[in-house]
């Protein structure tokens, strides 16, 4: 007996009602050390999570072992530290990797992490064909927005192509890279910029693969089919849904027209989503729960714009790392959406909508123009190296912030309806946030030290030499990396070997020539004070904007640099990943009136201490202010160390920040 066919129902080939399978539920997780993260993963999987999304700590992402001096403040803070195969053994203990879909959010060192995964599989006797998952490996967004790149663009691209070549022949179900526009939106990208920069990146990857000419025509089609995307869903959810539809259509067109992919299966736009963290507020953080739900709707509501995997941030992410309970709450939202509602029972519910269709069309047209501009320039790599894409993002971001500052963009609880009752969710004894135990790094360092003593030193050295030679000869580095993994080489040693050959990349900061769109009374007030300062001291106030540590989220620092210039300061800003020693050296040599630090990785206490030690070395009494995700419970300790003012995401008003800074330095005695 066959059921009557109805347009509004999804049916299988027998005409039986058959809802879609839900997307993969993931939680981006990892912290403290391999052991603690392993426990967390096993708990999450038992709660109904269907895939793993591994967060690595910053030293691992930037290619430093935990025992490197720059790693110390960051070990286990924003993800799990991985030093050698030994850590992977612990991390995946009792987790059947052959049954997992494992996503690794890692870029500069993605080849290394995949090599460790392969080495682990071979050790366990798991056939590589069974491995399923993704290494993010999108370097372009790292240069633009996230800052955990290591090598220059061309060499990074070479590593990506190596991985495609290796994976297609050896781990066919692995996505060697994942074009990530997520961070572009975090860095201020408009939907058009997200579309065009991500697609231009995908074109750059595919062009590089084509150029190597390592695949047959059929293999190349399969390879196109492995390209996946990681996208951001923001609060303007109708527009975001249209963005997703535009992505899908444009990818279909690009793969067909530019690359001649015949098999429709390989032209599908495959993507995972994490909803926007940028829009989450520190003020009235409970409002974020609704934001997260609304943002999730944009990428789940309609069948033609439904993601393959979804991860949701936690309601309190603007405050600090989420607790396991907070992550569980986010997972439950996905489960309610997928299993309680009727969302998955229908075909696309917006098909035929005039509004949606014309919005999609408009987005596509603008994005095509932008892609053409980038291609005319010589492609995404050139647009990175000449600073074009970065400066476009900094521009969008300054515009966005100017709009928030002038209340043109409403953010509930932040610049409107700011009075409210304090959330009872925050009153638990832990203050509603999670902190990594500072002693937990010892375990990681212990495992690392032990692995180093236990390994065959000769073999480790030999495999590193072979890796270096292969890099010099331009060979595919995957087999050499896997050999290193098996020889218990460490993350830092692997990355250093390639640093020696490729060098380290230092990109344009994108702040040159940027303007703020602010000219209200507040600006006039600040400029007035700057003028008074200049008269009193005979020169303009000078600020060193420092971005210490391995955290590459440079938006905050860039906005402060641009605002300070807008106020009339002379600004020294040298980009990301500086040591506290380098920042102090700049401030001393330049005789700066103030140092402004931006830290989002949670290592503010350790870094502030290093900074003040260094200032003491020069006997330099330069005032220091700090901005970033800093929990209130740390304020007192920071002030005791000598930090003069602390700015958190609550302080979004740029001119108020500048006003406080000029006030602080105006009462200082003249430095000379």
């Amino acid at each position: 007996m066959s059921a009557e066919k109805k347009d509004y129902l999804l049916v299988d080939e027998n005409g039986q009602g058959k809802p879609d399978k839900p997307w993969i539920f993931r939680t981006y997780a990892g912290h403290t050390n391999a052991k603690a993260s392993n426990e967390l993963y096993r708990k999450n999987l038992s709660k109904g999570q269907t895939g793993l999304s591994i967060a690595f700590d910053l030293p691992t992402q930037c290619g430093y072992s935990s025992d490197h001096e720059v790693s110390r403040p960051e070990i286990g803070k924003v993800g799990v530290p991985i030093n050698s195969l030994e850590d992977f053994r612990i991390l995946f203990d009792q987790i059947p990797i052959e049954e997992m879909n494992t996503s690794m959010t890692i870029n500069g060192t993605s080849m290394w992490l995949l090599s460790l995964y392969v080495a682990l599989a071979e050790e366990r006797g798991v056939p590589l064909e069974k491995l399923n998952g993704t290494t993010q490996n999108d370097l372009i967004k790292e240069y633009l927005a996230r800052g955990t790149y290591i090598y220059p663009p061309k060499d990074s691209m070479k590593i990506i192509v190596d991985m495609y070549e290796y994976c297609l022949h050896n781990i066919p179900k692995w996505n060697p890279s994942n074009i990530c526009s997520y961070h572009l939106q975090e860095a201020g990208a408009t939907p058009v910029q997200e579309l065009s920069f991500a697609l231009a990146t995908a074109i750059a990857v595919l062009d590089a693969i084509k150029e190597r000419n390592c695949f047959t025509e059929d293999e190349f089609e399969q390879c196109v089919g492995r390209i996946s995307f990681f996208v951001n869903a923001g609060i303007r959810f109708v527009e975001e849904m249209c963005k997703m539809r535009a992505f899908t259509e444009m990818w279909e067109e690009i793969t067909k027209e530019r690359y001649g992919v015949k098999n429709a299966k390989y032209r599908v736009f495959r993507y995972g989503v994490q909803v926007n963290s940028l829009g989450l507020t520190e003020e009235q953080p409970e409002n974020n729960a609704w934001r997260i739900l609304i943002e999730a709707l944009g990428v789940t509501l309609s069948r033609n714009a439904r993601c393959r995997a979804l991860q949701l941030p936690a309601w309190n992410e603007a405050l600090s790392l989420p607790r396991p309970w907070d992550q569980q709450w986010s997972l439950r939202l996905q489960q309610v959406l997928a299993y309680e509602t009727d969302l998955l029972e229908y075909p696309d519910i917006f098909e035929g909508s005039k509004v949606i269709e014309s919005k999609v069309k408009a987005l596509k047209e603008q994005a095509k123009l932008e892609i053409q501009k980038i291609l005319d320039m010589g492609g995404a790599l050139v647009a990175i190296e000449n600073g074009y894409m970065k400066s476009q993002l900094v521009k969008s971001q300054t515009e966005r912030l100017s709009k928030i500052n002038s209340n043109e963009l409403v953010i509930v609880g932040k610049n409107k309806w700011t009075d409210g009752i304090k959330s009872p969710l925050m009153t638990d004894s832990d203050g509603g946030i999670f902190k990594v135990d500072p002693k937990s790094a010892e375990q990681t360092l212990g495992v690392l030290a032990e692995a180093k003593t236990r390994r065959n030193a000769e073999l480790a050295k030999k495999s590193l030499e072979e890796l270096k030679q292969a890099a010099k000869d331009g060979k595919n580095l995957m087999p050499y990396s896997i050999a290193c993994a098996k020889a218990l080489v460490t993350t830092g040693e692997w990355a250093d070997a390639l640093r020696e050959v490729y060098g380290e990349y230092n990109p344009p900061t994108g702040v040159d020539g940027q303007k703020l769109f602010l000219s209200d009374d507040k600006v006039a007030t600040v400029r007035g004070k700057v003028d008074a300062f200049t008269k009193a001291h005979g020169h303009r106030p000078k600020i060193v904007v420092g971005k210490p540590g391995l955290d590459g989220h440079s938006n905050g620092a860039e906005m402060i640099a641009v605002s300070a210039k807008h106020s009339g300061f002379d600004v020294i800003y040298s980009g990301i990943r500086l040591s506290p020693e380098e920042i102090v050296q700049s401030a001393v040599e330049e005789n700066a009136n103030v140092i402004g630090l931006s830290i989002l990785s949670g290592s503010h206490k350790e870094i502030a201490k290093q900074l003040f030690d260094e200032l003491a070395h020069y006997k330099a009494n330069i005032p220091v202010v700090i901005g970033g995700i800093i929990p209130e419970s740390d304020f007192e300790e920071l002030k005791k160390m000598g930090i003069r003012e602390i700015f958190t995401p609550k302080d979004y008003d740029l001119m108020s920040i500048m006003n406080k800074i000029i006030d602080i330095i105006s009462v200082e005695p003249a430095l000379v």
Binding site: P152, G503, N506, T509, V511, D512, K515, R527, V530, H537, G538, H539, R540, A561, V562, A564, K565, H566, S567, G568, F569, D570, V571, I572, Y573, S574, G575, S579, E581, E582, Q585, S586, V588, E589, E590, N591, H617, Y618, K619, A620, P669, A670, L671, V672
Partner: protein, 334 residues
Amino acid sequence: MMDSTETLSQLVSEALLGEKFPIAKIISKIETENNLRFRESLFNEIQSQKPNAKEGLTIGITGTPGAGKSSLLGELCRLFLDFAPDKKMAIVAIDPSSNISGGSILGDRTRVTLPRRDTRIYFRSQPSQLELGGLNPYTYHVIRFLRKIFDYVFIETVGIGQNEISVSLISDISFLVMQPLGGDQVQFMKSGIMEVPEAFIINKCDEESLANSSYYMLESTLEFIKDILPDQSLPPIFKTSVVKKKGIEELLNFILTYSKRKDKNIETITQLMQWIRNEYGRFGIGIWKKMESNTWNQAVRLNSLGGIHKFNYELEETKFLSLIQNKIAQNDKN
């Protein structure tokens, strides 16, 4: 505040030892408006503490934006630490200021990574302060001061035309940095810049053939204007690549072994004249010409006696100021 002699003498003695913070404080003071009195005491103090203080070589580096000057300097620094273990260098990098707020973003440090707590390299940024000529109004005095402490003082400016080449006036040797096939030399030739620098650098020579064709193009351009070059010999051209780490050793070697010095008396007079022109225009120059003959004769006389560097800028500035004040007072009376 630092106004008592004791503090200045302390600062100077620490600065002469190469201590970074005292050097930085002194530079800030030099960069302060109406600093004549300070300069007088500063240079007197240096003279009395260290009469034979060194006189570092000044190297000007200019070129169009994007020619890779900062990266090149970064690589030069790295090599300098290895190749000249007993020498010290300072860099003054000048960036443009905003003409709306007057503020600036000084990002040139980005390209120069220095070892921690090393006192052999000192880096200082300077906003151009909207001055024409690519130099900051205080650059000259900052350089004069740094020369007393460092063996080599580099000045990096963005140069795009005739005005911006004034860096060569305060350098013993100045380089014009170009990009391969940038076509700069044609523009530069039109504006008469090609005769000014002592040497040329084609930077970003990452590709051999591109580098060579640019080299030959530049060489033939220079041959074309050879007749008007002062000593009629072709200035050296360096091909450098920071990416491929090529040509930079040769460039550094050229700088380290460079022996010709420009006459500091002439430099001083030129600066004085420039300052007078900026501040008092043609009226001021007219006044200056009156005392010029004396000063000039004095400079030439000292020079022939081997008394190079003896010309006292602050003294001349004071003399000129009193002269012009008298003149202005007279004018007011009339």
